[in-house]
Point group: C2
Chain length 393, copies 2
């Protein structure tokens, strides 16, 4: 395990937002103002912390702290929810001696209920007092809701002879168990980067990673990814070194994105759907998403079934342009479909072992151009239905 | 049970396309050439019978017969599949004394395998000999694959003092169990209608009914609906009476469409998702489809869970334009969400009984315009996963 980036301290406490007693409030403070970027849900219903974090970053792309609570989403809570969110930043800012405008909030949990402000008031000083007593691993654990395991990815790179460190923490995958929402992630870096360059690297890395995973196709009201770069390593990244940092950032987020799918509700598989030969990248994406979201493909993967017919049918309804006879479908390296017909390989025998593994490669060549796209998708299982069909009555 | 439209005869035989011995080949013959229309899958992979039926109808919108086999889809079968399909029409045409170009084919079953032509050759004369010995109910039964029950809807209407009869038969719902595909339907009418008018009524009725149901969001390679009007009642429908016939046709197809969702794989619910107040009908449709396809909404319905948060989240990611605070969500008549927040009703108590029923009304008002749309959708259940995750290995 590599060390955490320099100049960031962590704290987690149990504030009592959840039924069970466990850390449910987590804080990161940067010793100095960090260059900050954020990406948020595209859902039209935006949780209060999403609105407030957007405003803070729009005013100035700099942050000193990130505070995340689990147990309450503060989504669909109207004006009172907005006021409450701003009050939590005041409380945390005051306790830590940081301007509230430089604290970024995120929340995950039950939607539609107002925050328990009494608990926030009680917990904020304890949270500030705990700073430095916890690690980024504790942070990753405190923001979990229905996650089966905490999600952390670390990376070091040398720039101008000095070590720069990156660490990312994440929780959740899509919309999760009854009223539990949200994918949240924070990535920290101890290099110094200009806001413009950091924003560009960050958006590009998110687009290549978190935007290319799917569990159930649902987008929550609270999805948030923050990126902070504080310069504490003493290294300023600019010019050609930016590409190196971008690669490392993408690597960290890609590993977190994989873990989100791996921990998708009830998931037993991580399908890597790779589409090539499309007219353009947008059509390749349409094919990958249609296949990755297909209930029939997802259940076939769960069933370890080399069901090329379902993959082909999903490709065919994706809206992409191609000639049926040019399409080649390959599953775990075995070519299943070519020239508009199944190949004459003995799929079931060839794929018996490969389909028992967690990773399933679905390669689709359309033969219509150079567009390509890659998507990670989970399977659809009995446990998914168990998890989501909660007989409340 | 009302009588069948005049001038149509039915035959079903067991040709041996399926493992179990049961009728798997079904024929309808009209005593006189009937005005014919067809609607087909939009999937880019089109089964051979879809291509051939399209060609026959494009050449001349008239048909004497419809022949449907279950057990083999003749999809993804290349040039040999096309030749085989044309040969089956020759065989049936010759046995019945009808031009092959006036026979419309459809197939459902395992995809990727070539038709068993020897069995077709053996069965065609028996099929012709059986004409008139079967009913439209037998027909509906012979075209079943994984269907739990045969789907028939009948309707009479009086035009100019004479009875006109309509009957529709259908099978399937979306893509079904391992490698079983396809929604197929045939509607018969004994009025005389011009090809132009019949085409218009038929397309409009299909658009209002079959195009507004979803089980799993998948579109098969073989979906086909045929409509035949043969004039055997002696009634010619024209002018103002066309609207009456259109209403009756829509009613027949609407009842079949409902049955398709009711018999969706593993389904326990029929959700009627009604969206109003959208900017236009297209945005209303986008909302209805996002809600109706949402795995989280579908599992909540299965779980009898008044989970407004999942409905709201699906509305929010649909891409439609509206203000969050204008949206009203009502479930089985109980208002759950208004003014951007949950209402203060005791949902769980109020909805305990209504959510036990088969029919669940989901009403979504967007407050942004006059666009509206209605979609029937099934729920997502343990039996859906059982049915589709066939452990073949």
């Amino acid at each position: 395990m590599s060390a955490s980036p320099k100049g960031f301290r962590f704290a987690t406490v149990s504030a009592g937002f959840r039924k069970e007693a466990r850390p449910d409030l987590a804080l990161i403070v940067s010793d100095t103002p960090a260059t900050a970027a954020g990406v948020f849900t595209t859902n039209r219903f935006q949780a209060a912390p999403v609105v407030v974090a957007r405003e803070n970053l729009a005013a100035r792309p700099v942050a000193r702290a990130v505070v995340i609570n689990s147990g309450q989403a503060n989504a669909c809570t109207g004006d009172e929810g907005m006021t409450n969110c701003r009050t939590t930043l005041d409380l945390v800012g005051k306790a830590c001696g940081i301007p509230a405008a430089e604290v970024l909030p995120a929340s995950t949990g039950v939607i539609g209920a107002q925050l328990h402000m009494d608990k926030w008031r009680e917990a904020a000083p304890r949270l500030a007092a705990a700073l430095g007593q916890n690690t980024h691993h504790d942070f990753a654990r405190a923001i979990m809701t229905t996650d089966a395991f905490p999600k952390v990815a670390e990376r070091e790179l040398a720039i101008a002879g000095t070590t720069v460190r990156l660490v990312g923490m994440a929780k959740g995958a899509g919309m999760i168990c009854p009223n539990m929402a949200t994918m949240l992630s924070v990535v920290l870096c101890d290099a110094a980067v200009t806001p413009e360059a950091w924003q560009r690297l960050f958006l590009d890395a998110v687009d290549r990673t978190f935007n290319r995973v799917t569990v159930d196709g649902d987008t929550s009201t609270n999805d948030t990814v923050f990126g902070l770069a504080n310069g504490a390593s003493g290294v300023t990244v600019e010019g050609d070194d930016l590409a190196k940092l971008g690669e490392a950032l993408t690597d960290v987020l890609a590993r977190l994105a994989y873990m989100l799918v791996q921990d998708g509700e009830g998931a037993t598989k991580v399908m890597r759907v790779k589409v090539s030969g499309a007219v353009d990248d947008a059509e390749a994406e349409a094919v990958a998403r249609t296949v990755g979201h297909s209930q029939l493909v997802k259940t076939a993967m769960y069933g370890r079934d080399a069901n090329w017919g379902r993959i082909v049918a999903a490709v065919g309804r994706s809206g992409a342009s191609f000639k049926a006879e040019d399409v080649v479908v390959t599953l775990c390296g075995v070519e299943l479909f070519r020239n508009g017909q199944p190949t004459d390989l003995d799929f079931d025998t060839l794929l018996r072992e490969p389909l028992k593994g967690r990773d399933v490669a679905v390669d689709i060549e359309l033969g219509a151009g150079t567009g390509h796209y890659e998507l990670l998708a989970s399977d659809l299982t009995h446990d998914y239905v168990n998890c989501n069909a909660d007989y409340r009555s």
